[in-house]
């Protein structure tokens, strides 16, 4: 087995563990914790494979989240839970929290930067935050697409709300 597959399996295993851990933290029902683990593993495997194919983080996260959300939508008739709980928990390990922290940390260092270093610090911070924003937008959009294309049958679809 070459290093590519080992890397994908590694990411899938720890993505699954992270999803299951967050599933417990979010008080998911015990019967869907394994589904959450599978969903997280699938998401991280697809994201890693996409990144290996030279896609950037937002693109990779988009395809991973779309795959997980589509799989959950297809399997919806066989599930007891409504909504997109499993896809949501599966995508939690892809939320770039560490990158957001890094971006904000870089902006903090801007306050102490010596003359000539400001541009580098500002660029690093803004780049990280831009990547965070795009990745979150990608995940959120990908999670919403299957439900917009193929809404659940229970939904009345007759809402008019004030905005």
């Amino acid at each position: 087995m070459n290093s590519f597959w080992i890397h994908i399996i590694h990411q899938a295993i720890f993505g699954g563990i992270a999803s299951a851990g967050f599933g417990i933290l979010f008080n998911c029902s015990p019967r869907i914790i394994l589904h959450c683990m599978g969903s997280g593993a699938m998401a991280l495997a697809i994201r890693t494979a996409c990144q290996s194919a030279n896609l950037n983080l937002p693109e990779s996260a988009f395809f991973a989240a779309l795959s997980v959300a589509a799989a959950e939508q297809v399997l919806q008739p066989f599930q007891q839970t409504r909504g997109s709980i499993i896809a949501l928990v599966g995508c939690i390990p892809m939320v770039p929290g560490s990158m957001a922290a890094k971006g904000l940390t870089n902006l903090f260092t801007l306050l102490q930067a010596r003359p000539g270093e400001e541009i580098t610090a500002a660029t690093n911070g803004m780049r990280s935050l831009l990547e965070v924003t795009l990745t979150l937008a990608a995940i959120g959009t990908a999670l919403a697409i299957p439900q917009l294309i193929y809404p659940e049958k229970e939904a009345s679809g007759k809402t008019k709300t004030l905005r």
Partner: protein
């Protein structure tokens, strides 16, 4: 909600509720449902669908729901009767099993298995009836999740156990402080500092060479992932006000988390 009569008739026929409870009771029940869903981390779309579906089944001709971050307004109409009620929403969190319990109550009220008043009583007592995991298991699993994040970010195995312990302790502190109704942002800053400090000290004692990643991994339990994704969903589905409020809150949580992290990293990476 102004819908065509054909659809309304179809919906009402599919709802087997024969007794129509007073409109004010339906309004109160709808508010309780919306409030609990908001507090349990559901998106605005889910809240609208559940309330509207139930209101139709309880004989309402029309229903409108206005979700805001701190309040929810429900307007119901049945013939010449009209009822508007507003309620306050508490601290937003995530409790997926709580959401399932609420959905189950809504389904049973809609199908006529239980009366509206019984559903209201069950919702009023819901905090005592939602099953939950033991605190030690939640802390352990949170620690495990953060350690897994560390591995995903490229941390070495030497930092795995320190991150696990630090995050578990952080989760325990967070829970203890939130139960005592402490300010969420202050709690975030304190937990971030303590978790990062413990992970850094532990990693250093065990000889880890990835202290920076270890400290970052240990605070990832604080990232409001569900709120972030709900913000996205609300934007896409046309609820910009709620999305803006959720987004602002997410930004502040991340800011306080980073402040705690930076303070701990200063001690670990530069001093101590």
């Amino acid at each position: 909600m102004h819908s065509d009569g054909t659809q309304e008739s179809r919906l009402q026929r599919s709802c087997p509720v024969a007794v129509r409870p007073p409109l004010s009771d339906v309004g109160r029940l709808s508010l309780s449902i919306g409030r609990l869903f908001m507090e349990f981390g559901e998106s605005a779309r889910m809240i609208h669908e559940e309330i509207l579906g139930m209101a139709h089944c309880l004989g309402c001709d029309s229903a409108e729901v206005y979700c805001q971050h701190a309040a929810i307004i429900v307007a119901l109409r049945r013939g010449e009767e009209f009822c508007v009620q507003m309620g306050k929403v508490g601290e937003h969190g995530v409790n997926l099993r709580g959401s399932e319990v609420v959905k189950d109550i809504v389904r049973r009220v809609s199908e006529g298995d239980i009366a509206c008043s019984v559903g209201q009583t069950q919702l009023d007592n819901i905090q005592r009836t939602i099953p939950s995991y033991p605190v030690w298991l939640v802390c352990l699993c949170t620690g495990l999740a953060c350690s897994a994040f560390g591995r995903l970010l490229g941390a070495d195995w030497l930092s795995f156990f320190p991150v696990l312990v630090a995050s578990a302790v952080g989760q325990w502190i967070r829970r203890a402080m939130l139960v005592r109704k402490k300010n969420l942002f202050m709690v975030t800053g304190i937990v971030s500092f303590v978790s990062a400090l413990l992970a850094g000290v532990g990693g250093r004692l065990l000889g880890s060479s990835h202290l920076e990643i270890a400290t970052v991994s240990a605070v990832l339990l604080l990232v409001p992932g569900v709120a972030v994704l709900n913000t996205q969903t609300d934007v896409i589905e046309g609820k910009p006000n709620l999305a803006a409020a959720r987004g602002l809150r997410v930004i502040y949580i991340l800011l306080f988390m980073t402040l705690g992290l930076v303070a701990a990293q200063r001690l670990i990476l530069q001093g101590l």
